[in-house]
């Protein structure tokens, strides 16, 4: 959700109102896992680079579906990641196993549609399903603020 996310970050995350969390869904074949692995392996090197990879992958979503290993290695190189460390992470099992576990957990939580957005605060919980305009997020956030 790159569109509304930019406004959410600009207006609510930066203001200290919202903490954004990304939870991977692996519904669309091997490259769902490969793309998530790329982002998580970037995050292994620096959490800020997870978000850089996240933005890059979503911005090039049309290419990611048919991408191969070299594509993801090039994504890592473009972000300035340590190439050897990234390749070891990408080809390894640890992050992939973690991603599969996270995917299983969200199923157990009843998250079955993508994207799904769960907003939680002391004031309550809201769940938005499907891509939503920024205004919908803003209204939900405002309703949950103390």
């Amino acid at each position: 959700m790159l569109g509304a996310e930019r406004d959410i970050v600009a207006n609510h995350v930066t203001a200290g109102e919202v903490r954004l969390v990304f939870w991977p869904i692996l519904d669309l074949g091997p490259n769902s896992l490969n793309a998530a692995t790329t982002a998580f392996c970037a995050g292994e090197q620096d959490p800020a680079l997870f978000w850089a990879a996240h933005d890059l992958l979503f911005a090039n979503q049309g290419e990611v579906y048919g991408a191969d290993r070299d594509y993801f290695l090039n994504v890592a190189a473009g972000l300035g990641l340590d190439a050897d460390a990234f390749a070891a992470c990408y080809d390894g099992d640890d992050v992939r196993a973690q991603l599969v576990d996270l995917d299983a957990t969200r199923r157990q939580q009843g998250i079955n549609q993508r994207p799904t957005f769960a907003l939680v605060s002391d004031a309550g919980t809201r769940r938005l399903i499907g891509a939503q305009p920024y205004d919908t997020f803003a209204a939900a956030i405002t309703a949950l603020l103390p």
Binding site: M1, E5, I8, V9, A10, N11, H12, V13, T14, A15, G16, E17, V18, R19, L20, V21, F22, W23, P24, I25, L26, D27, L28, G29, N31, S32, A35, A36, A39, F40, G43, D46, P47, A48, F50, W51, H54, F58, Q61, V64, Q98, D101, L102, R106, I111, R114, P115, T116, F117, A118, L119, V120, S121, D122, A123, F137, I141, L144, L145, P146
Partner: protein, 127 residues
Amino acid sequence: MCMRRFLLGLLLLLAACAPAAGETGAPASSPVVMTATTAPTATTAPAATTVRESAAATATTVVTATAPAGGEQGSAAATADSPAAATGEPEPTAAPSSPIAGRNDDGTFFYGAAAAPVTLTDYSDFL
């Protein structure tokens, strides 16, 4: 001769009256005279002061204008809507509210202040 004496006397009389004429003209031209006299000091000094003040004011403006810009560089769009940015004052809360990228215990990544009251979890597929 009498006529010459009369004219001479008249000239003397006029001469005697001349200062009085200058004095009467003085009020009208007084500001000019005063300005001309005091201008080198009176106008220069305030002018110099004014320049310094405006220079100082400009410097202050630049600093306060730069401060929010720096804040924006530090955290994108952080100060655009803030009251502090509007007033040009330093933003004491900039650092605490600056988003932080990190990782949760469950392995997911987050972006935002730890004390943010709302957590928005995006369950998505990159494809």
